[in-house]
């Protein structure tokens, strides 16, 4: 059997060959393999310089001060550090926190843990399209709200929150604002200062970098304190200890630099592919786009095939590697918490699949995908 066509770029992406090349130059004896914390030899100095170049590449993509970037092992760790670290460091402001019902599990689980520790959490309800409005945030803000955490782009629907407006609300209330940007960084322009962002989680593997590396943006002006989750040698100005994985940092930096250069052209190319795909697939009877009618990233399409189960759909669409929601919850039999939050029934949620496109998706892939969906659906209907 031929390998299926990969349409699950929102779960993870392949490493760009240019990124993989840069990474392999930081592993072996003839490369940049040393410990960047080694101050006593040239191997260490070169490793440190490579890490700092990568840090600048990450900072540049979000228009941030280089020193505001803290390396982590991924977006999950960045979310843990931002949310748990800020909530515990800013208890003097209060113990009320705000997030939304449609966040990634990495965020929701942090808040669940904080609730166990006695914090009070408000979970904002999204609109029918899956967006969190500034009005709903304003209503929920209280004098003792110390932290607001909202995602930039929803990983299941692709819809975009107006981060600048939400950030302004949080700022006016004197609350810290954290953004999970795992799905948006490199795909949408981001300017952390213009968007009033205090903390922002990012990772590499959703944007053609490696798994196992991410970063947290931590505002510098005025300085912002967060409590470390991993203690030790005091790396990353004490916010995150642990030897820096040079090849991983370099991989993320390279991926971010490529994203900066190619964001615009890639956006146009993928928009055209998605438009073609949706134009043909949404013509089929009983097929609707979830979360439509608002601003969304072009690479994610969440589609409801009314009356069918996602398991059976995936079986008949077997030429396609797609998913029924977040990879992180795909082992669970529960309907998607995101689709439930936007008011879909369990049946509708169970009938939905996420198609996500990317840098290596071709016109041919779209043709095969449309054909597979059309034929598969016809087959299911004929049974």
């Amino acid at each position: 059997m031929n390998k299926p066509i990969y349409l699950d770029y929102a779960a993870t992406t392949p490493v760009d060959p240019r990124v993989a090349k840069a990474m392999t130059e930081c592993l072996t004896l003839d490369g940049n393999f040393a410990n960047p914390a080694s101050r006593s030899h040239i191997y260490g100095w070169q490793a440190e310089s490579a890490v700092e170049t990568a840090r600048r590449q990450v900072a540049d993509l979000i228009v941030a001060d280089t020193r505001a970037i803290v390396w982590t092992s991924g977006a999950t760790e960045a979310n843990n550090l931002a949310i748990k670290g800020a909530a515990s460091a800013h208890q003097d402001k209060g113990r009320h926190l705000i997030t939304s019902q449609t966040e990634h599990k990495a965020v929701l689980d942090c808040f669940a843990e904080l609730e166990r520790q006695g914090f009070e959490v408000t979970y904002l309800q999204p609109t029918r399209q899956g967006v969190i409005t500034a009005e709903s945030l304003s209503e929920a803000l209280r004098p003792d709200t110390s932290l607001v955490s909202l995602m930039h782009v929803n990983n299941e629907l692709g819809v975009v929150n107006d981060i600048a407006a939400l950030g302004a609300c949080a700022k006016n209330n004197g609350s810290l604002f954290h953004v999970d940007a795992a799905q948006s960084v490199g795909k949408l322009p981001i300017d952390v200062n213009a968007m009033n962002v205090d903390l922002m989680s990012m990772c590499a593997h959703k944007i053609y970098g490696p798994k196992g590396i991410g970063a947290l943006y931590v505002r510098r002006q005025p300085p912002l304190a967060i409590d470390a989750q991993i203690h030790g040698g005091g790396h990353e100005r004490g916010m995150r200890s642990g030897t820096l994985p040079v090849h991983q940092c370099v991989g993320m930096g390279t991926a971010f630099e490529i994203a900066a250069q190619e964001m615009k052209s890639e956006d146009q190319r993928i928009s055209a592919l998605t438009k073609k795909f949706l134009g043909l697939v949404l013509d089929l009877e009983g097929v609707v786009l979830n979360g439509s009618g608002v601003k969304a990233v072009p690479n994610i399409a969440n589609i409801c095939f009314q009356g069918f189960e996602s398991d059976r759909l995936m079986m008949v669409f077997r030429e396609l590697a797609i998913s029924s929601g977040s990879a992180c919850t795909s082992a669970s039999l529960e309907p998607s918490h995101v689709l439930r939050a936007i008011g879909m029934t369990d049946d509708e949620a169970h009938a939905s699949l996420r198609f996500s496109f990317g840098r290596f998706t071709t016109e041919d892939d779209i043709d095969v995908a449309v054909q597979s969906v059309t034929e598969g659906l016809a087959k299911l209907k004929s049974l």
Binding site: T12, C203, G212, G233, T243
Partner: protein
């Protein structure tokens, strides 16, 4: 002549065979192991294989006892904080004064949170006093955290015996084995060690991947939340390529354990003997009869370690004065001070840490270079006269600060 790298306790180069294993997981095997489609499940199989390879190297009874993390520091923080959160009624910790900053700084933080931390002292050879240890074991202690081998002197601690003593009193035992794994045999199945931290980049796997071993039945509270990965014990999309690399590196380390304890040890012994014979007023620190086979920590009296390293660097030799994690600091090593080594020698300590990629030829080159470097620096030293150390070095250097 190529440069000589003798700082393998700071980090190691990744073995080319390990890189080769990793490469497919950037391109064709790039899937998210949590995805249900075939891109994901093949990657899941690769993770399973790597878990087995790690299990074998450390002699764990079950592969489910292996939790992949992002580094040794994360494993240490996870282990110690887990023990405290799982047993909130126990408010004491036992550790040593010579631990890695990953454990010491965490303990310092925990003291500010109201925990009592007992720091075991070491003697002049870096050894622990087990009687002192036994007296501290009580039902108030939540966890004992003792490194398996010291990163600076290489001294090996009797962690298996100490774990059994803790176990008999119902106390959890954690060991930071970052320096020991791959260098000396480890058999966790037949030990009372509940938790063990290890790191990939000390054994020719990449940086950014580590392991927390968690003996089956040990109570556990995760540090990173937000996903079902690692059986809910460590959230976050798996760092697949690095984990696969770690598996391969563990397999290779396992098959080189004997080489490490014969050939690498012989190189280390020759290095130490050659330097001690050629340089006056220097000595090996730590428990030289009971230390890692790759490590020689040599204190050169009356000169600065950092100066030695800079001059060695000029002739293409890389070593270090202590832990990389503290290498920016001007304080003498906390490990050397704990062993009661005087300032005039502690400041001049150089750690040579070898690997199976060093050669005897490199060792001879280092032996040939070091005496000249030391002599040159001693000429500038206020503690050093024409024919050796001056009579009262402690009072010789008394600069007046304006």
């Amino acid at each position: 002549m190529s440069d000589i790298y003798m700082d393998n306790n700071a980090t190691t180069m990744v073995d080319p065979a390990v890189v080769e294993e990793m490469m497919p997981f950037f391109s064709e095997q790039f899937g998210n192991p949590s995805s249900l489609h075939s891109f994901g499940n093949k990657v899941g199989m690769a993770l399973k294989k790597a878990r087995k390879q790690v299990q074998r190297l450390i002699g764990a009874e079950f592969d489910s006892e292996i939790i992949f993390t992002s580094c040794g520091s994360e494993s240490d923080s996870t282990a110690i904080l887990s023990a405290l959160r799982a047993q909130p009624e126990r408010r004491e910790i036992i550790t040593t004064v010579v631990e890695h900053p990953a454990v010491l700084n965490l303990c310092e933080y925990l003291e500010t949170e109201g925990y009592t931390v007992h720091y075991l002292k070491v003697d002049n050879k870096g050894r622990l006093d087990l009687d002192e240890y036994k007296k501290l074991l009580s039902d108030k202690v939540a966890v004992v955290s003792i490194m398996w081998a010291n990163n600076e002197s290489g001294t090996i601690f009797p962690v298996e015996e100490m774990a059994e003593l803790a176990h008999n009193k119902g106390i959890m035992f954690h060991t930071d084995a970052v320096q020991a794994v791959g260098k000396i045999p480890i058999d966790l199945e037949n030990s009372y060690i509940h938790m063990l931290s290890m790191s990939g980049h000390k054994l020719h796997a990449p940086k950014g991947v580590g392991v927390l071993y968690l003996k089956r039945g040990t109570r556990f509270r995760p540090l990173l939340r937000g996903g079902h990965q690692e059986r809910g014990r460590r959230a976050g999309t798996e760092n697949v390529a690095s984990i696969v690399g770690l598996g391969k590196a563990c397999e290779m380390a396992g098959s080189h354990i004997e080489f490490e304890n014969t050939h690498v040890k012989a190189m280390r012994d020759r290095l130490q003997e050659g330097i001690l014979a050629a340089v006056p007023n220097c000595f090996a620190t730590g428990d030289v009869e009971n230390r890692l086979p790759n490590t020689a920590s040599i204190a050169f009296e009356f000169i600065e370690g950092e100066a030695i390293l800079l001059l060695m660097n000029k002739v293409g030799i890389a070593a270090s004065s202590g832990s990389a994690c503290t290498s920016g600091s001007l304080e003498p090593s906390h490990v050397m001070m704990a062993m009661g080594i005087p300032y005039t020698a502690a400041h001049g300590t150089v750690r040579f840490s070898l690997s199976r990629y060093n050669t005897m030829e490199e060792v001879e080159r280092v032996i040939a270079e070091v005496p000249g470097i030391v002599a040159k620096l001693r000429k500038l030293s206020p503690y050093w006269g024409e024919n050796g150390p001056i009579e009262n070095p402690e009072s010789a250097f008394a600069p007046v600060y304006a």
